[in-house]
Symmetry: C2
Subunit: 321 residues, 2 copies
């Protein structure tokens, strides 16, 4: 098996992203639009929100794959609050995962909230009307302003190629760029060139699998793709004993500006915002409230300080020269 | 590692199904209701449609899992046509997969087909009105008749426990029972008692995994759980060279009445219905048409013949005695 553990060989052996040119064109157009007069000054801040889990195919003609638990709820909710805060959002999401302004949607009984009225028109039941109307309004506004771009992925190959494309583009806006990496990204994968072509047959007894480590792209993002961007990564664990320690490690090793640490059992109710020398726990008080609202308020404040601090630093350096 | 390859040890070591008693009560009530006067004669025929892929958790507090490609579209469409044909349907489906009468739903732009009208009511856009209205009507009818029971699963453990519960219950209706096993069921799994408790850490280099074979429950379904039921299993392959041969093998080995064989690349357009000594290819002529309509017409005819044939056989035996 080829251990494609460095970024170059990962990309060299990955099946190429479909319609890459068209995606890139949409991306350039989006960044240009949100860098003109939009939002005043030098343009809107631009955040890339990644959301949902990546899959790892086990066969080239894929029937089976490894997946990561993620509904995409956090990414979708966060996107709404970033838009509300005046950001332009590139929503890099798992196909079929939770979408911004669609969180009210029931999982499996969608038809229950539609009624046929007296004039035989299909309308949303009164019980859901307020929330749906607000969602349609907010969604339409975001689409009209051109401040939301949705880019879907399924596999780890698609995700990392998209992330690279977005990051190298967003680097053009310098400090105004932010990465909010909420996607649940696979740590292990099967390199494309060592993958079974057809469905693995089950007659041959137990299945032995050897998965390679996915190269740690956070370092590449920070050092090469978008060195000036404000970077937030997520750390999900199931064991509370190692959570903060792992978050601290990620902060230092990958030079993230912030790590959002959460536990599988309580991720909807509580997160710890880890920065250099500071740990803030954010809790929600009741289940009607979105934890993401508080998270995004805190992060956008820290991003503003980062921009201001860096500019002041640069001015000081210039003055001193 | 314990190789839990026999059905007993699979069930003995699986984490128990949540709310099993409540599910069983709903099931008993459903079968009783559809066995009285419903549909005339001795009651409606009852089909268990399984749909969507099962997951195989890799950790007990599950962050990662192996999944099987399946949108659940075939199971959802087939459920609609079984209901239309007068069957009662137990829809055993993957949580979040495609639902009956919801196939018109767009993947990710749901809000696009809702409008706010002049009176400020939220209604379905005119372009989608006809299809949505028909879906709501058909869905309401099925729910009012009490001829649709939806039971969700996620993991292979939940799926097989549900299937056993449904099968042992449906066995009470004898020949009137049918199994339409369209779910994409994992062939390999990690037995619960040999599974990592916490999220597997990625720092330790490549991941070696040894997966056990899932016991072949089709034999148990046929021989023990519901010996008189009419059984249809599915065979999905990616390699056309082995498809029909694998379908024939499944037919004989598991004593299925019918195997529906399809290829990943063409499963929406073409299936081969394999019975003893007969192979019928069903193709759809245009993309507006559901392949499932033709499949269900053929299968319900074969089920009627099976019931009639078995009863005639029984009568003949009684006469001859």
């Amino acid at each position: 098996m080829v251990a494609a553990q460095d970024p170059e060989s990962f990309f060299a052996t990955a099946p190429p992203l479909r319609d890459a040119d068209a995606v890139d064109a949409r991306l350039q157009e989006f960044i240009a639009r949100n860098s003109n007069n939009a939002g005043g000054g030098g343009g809107r801040p631009i955040v890339c929100v990644t959301s949902g889990g990546t899959t790892v195919p086990l066969e080239q003609r894929c029937v089976r794959y490894i997946d990561n638990f993620s509904s995409g709820h956090r990414g979708a909710a966060s996107t709404e609050y970033f838009l509300k805060a005046g950001y332009a959002v590139i929503f890099v999401h798992r196909r079929g995962s939770c979408q911004p302004y669609c969180r009210f949607m029931p999982d499996d009984s969608f038809l229950k909230f539609l009624d046929v009225n007296e004039e035989s028109k299909v309308q949303v039941a009164r019980s859901h009307e307020t929330v749906v109307k607000k969602s349609i309004g907010d969604y339409s506004k975001a689409m009209e302003c051109g401040s939301l771009l949705k880019l879907p992925f399924t596999t780890i190959f698609e995700y990392l190629q998209l992330l690279r494309m977005v990051a190298t583009s967003v680097s053009s806006v310098g400090l105004r760029g932010m990465f909010y990496l909420a996607a649940a990204v696979s740590d292990f994968y099967v390199p494309w060139d060592s993958m079974a072509k057809h469905k693995i047959q089950s007659a041959g007894g137990p299945l032995e699998m050897r998965l390679s480590q996915v190269p740690k792209m956070l370092s590449v993002l920070r050092n090469q793709w978008a060195p000036l961007a404000f970077c937030i990564s997520f750390k999900l664990e199931t064991d509370s004993d190692i959570l903060v320690q792992k978050a601290d490690m990620a902060l230092n090793k990958y030079k993230m500006n912030i790590v959002v640490a959460n536990l599988l059992a309580t991720y909807k109710d509580e997160v710890i915002i880890v920065t250099n020398g500071e740990k803030n726990t954010i809790r929600r008080c009741n289940t009607d409230e979105d934890l993401e609202e508080q998270i995004i308020i805190l992060l956008t404040q820290k991003h503003s300080k980062y921009i201001y601090g860096s500019q002041m630093g640069a001015t000081r350096v210039q003055t001193e020269l």
